[in-house]
């Protein structure tokens, strides 16, 4: 079995998530080749075939040219699986490749299971096992779901290049908004989720954070609705935190939120839904209405 792994560069740097692709391929028991659109002076230690195209000419983000490069590597390598990380790069490019080859795509794989690939669904509450019907298949793997593996060795380089018109013109990167709170340094974080109900209830959560001597965090919908500023957001598109104590108030536990906080030493979740996926990482799940429980807890701490 053969896998063609598609690594990723951002702002000139090979992303660490590329090593999760090796972890996945090893679990799959596949012989792997790697495709990178990057630069020759930032290559992973990997003993297999490495298809390398230059980001200086093909762009770091240029889906049209990158698709051509992947298709060329597919033709040379004839892999059973073409594997991306389920990232802003992977979910953008993978369906373009799958459509060109007319192969199945299984998105955000969390495990290799008998009969296919397991993926999350229903906001991470449930799982599906999906089986590709085509000879080849495109897969995107969930970030963090597979172990990081540094294979070691020196790659056999095969240079690729692509040209042609690109329908997407990349203008540049825009940095993340400046942070007015550095959650990464907080020892205690109390986060508000959509289950808090409304903006007027945020002070109740902030009061618990104060009573515990911690900072206020938030899930994305709370930030999008402008109940709190973006610098409080925890998750893949916010901050990654690992405090001594993380209290999730009315947060369901979507993968993008968990990715930002699951390494916390101790996690308390307050949720009215006993089945909420946050329960999978919580040390204590308090099944309660957040607006009843949190004020009672704050009052008790103040005593």
């Amino acid at each position: 079995m053969k896998a063609l792994l598609i690594g990723e560069y951002r702002e000139g740097k090979l992303l660490d998530s590329t090593y999760e692709l090796f972890g996945f391929a090893s679990q799959l028991g596949a012989e792997s080749a790697l495709l990178l659109v990057g630069s020759a002076d930032q290559l992973p230690a990997f003993g297999g075939t490495l298809y390398l195209a230059d980001a200086a000419t093909c762009g770091e983000y240029n889906p049209d040219l990158h698709k051509k490069l992947v298709l060329e590597a597919v033709q040379k390598e004839n892999p059973d699986y073409i594997v991306f990380v389920h990232s802003s790069y992977g979910w953008d490019l993978a369906p373009r490749v799958a459509a060109s080859l007319k192969t199945a795509q299984v998105s955000e794989v969390t495990a290799i299971v008998p009969g296919g690939f397991e993926v999350g669904c229903c906001n991470a509450k449930m799982r599906r096992t999906v089986k590709p019907n085509s000879a080849k298949a495109v897969l995107t793997i969930q970030a963090g779901a597979f172990p990081v593996l540094q294979p070691g060795g020196t790659p056999q380089l095969q240079k690729l290049s692509a040209e042609g018109t690109a329908a997407v013109e990349f203008i540049g990167y825009e940095p993340a908004e400046p942070k007015d709170v550095d959650l990464a340094r907080a020892e205690i974080i109390v986060s508000a989720g959509r289950g808090v109900g409304k903006k007027d209830n945020i002070p109740v959560i902030a009061a618990l954070a104060r009573a515990l001597g911690g900072e206020l965090g938030a899930s994305r919908p709370v930030v999008d609705a402008e109940w709190v500023s973006h610098s409080h957001q925890v998750g893949t598109t916010g901050q990654t935190v690992s405090p001594k104590l993380y209290v999730a108030c009315g947060i369901s536990g979507a993968i993008q939120h968990l990715a930002g906080m699951k390494k916390s030493d101790f996690i308390i979740a307050i949720n009215k839904d006993k089945d909420a996926p946050i329960g999978e990482v919580a040390d204590v799940l308090v099944v309660a209405d957040v607006m009843q429980f949190v004020p009672a807890l704050t009052a008790r701490l103040a005593r």
Partner: protein, 258 residues
């Protein structure tokens, strides 16, 4: 200018999900339904563009599914879409993303749409495939995960959201398809007069068999809850008692109260 927005109706994600008889998707009884959250941002962006363009622009909303999806379509009409297409399909839930995309493409291919909006992903299936696949099938330019959208005379300047809150700015030209991320805008609540007006708007029904010629490329073989790995303590019951228990646990197992 002709604009299309594709929406999916999904269950309330706070529901309890049980496998259906075949064990490959959820049982639909007792579920409450609403518009896929990502698609609300898509509809809002499409409506804002349609309002900006004014006279001569036309915005169509499309949804594939059983009769219940008409509710989601009506919401999109009340938000400001001009007309609607309901692709009637009792078995939409068991179609793979390739088939769903093929249905949309088959509908759109001879309609000369300039711009198509979709959500970045559906909340129940979450494949993040349908939009990009439609763009590939139609040969449209495509940009995904938009948190910023500007349109000027055939050119879209989009902000894609990347990991860690960084954004990638891109330009694409119509005909184009964009997939919308949470936070792109603030989706409006339909007002009562607009809900009334929407009742008069046309919803064209098309049978799925008239549009779909493709076999699935992937099959769901099982739908099941995650393996229980939560080894945590679950507290239930009266608030005061739970507060006491929690304080006890915090004192026992953490150093935060010392």
């Amino acid at each position: 200018m002709k604009i299309l927005v594709c929406i999916k109706q999904v269950p309330d994600l706070e529901s309890r999900f049980k496998p259906n008889a075949e064990g490959v998707w959820y049982n639909e009884t007792d579920l409450a339904w609403r518009m896929n959250e990502y698609d609300e941002f898509a509809v809002e962006q499409a409506v804002q563009l349609r309002e900006k363009l004014g006279e001569g622009a036309e915005l169509t909303v499309l949804s594939i599914g059983p009769e219940r999806v008409v509710e989601a379509i009506k919401k999109a009409l009340a938000m400001g879409c001009d007309n609607a297409v309901h692709v009637q399909d009792l078995a939409a839930a068991t179609k793979d993303p390739w088939q769903i995309a093929s249905i949309i493409s088959a509908y759109a291919k001879d309609k000369a749409f300039d711009l198509i909006f979709t959500g970045m992903q559906s909340q129940d299936r979450g494949s993040a495939q349908v939009g990009v696949t439609v763009a590939e099938q139609l040969g449209f330019a495509c940009s995904t995960t938009l948190v910023g959208f500007e349109y000027d005379n055939g050119t879209i300047t989009a902000k894609r959201e990347l990991e860690g809150g960084i954004k990638g700015v891109v330009k694409i030209k119509t005909p184009a398809l964009v997939t919308c991320q949470l936070g792109l805008n603030v989706p409006r609540y339909p007002t009562l007069p607009n809900i009334m007006k929407a009742k008069k708007k046309e919803i064209i029904a098309i049978a799925v068999a008239d549009l779909l010629k493709e076999e699935p490329l992937a099959t769901t073989v099982s739908f099941h809850p995650p393996a229980k790995k939560g080894s945590g303590i679950v507290l239930e019951g009266e608030t005061g008692a739970m507060v006491d228990q929690l304080i006890g646990i915090l004192k026992d197992k953490t150093t935060v109260l010392r």
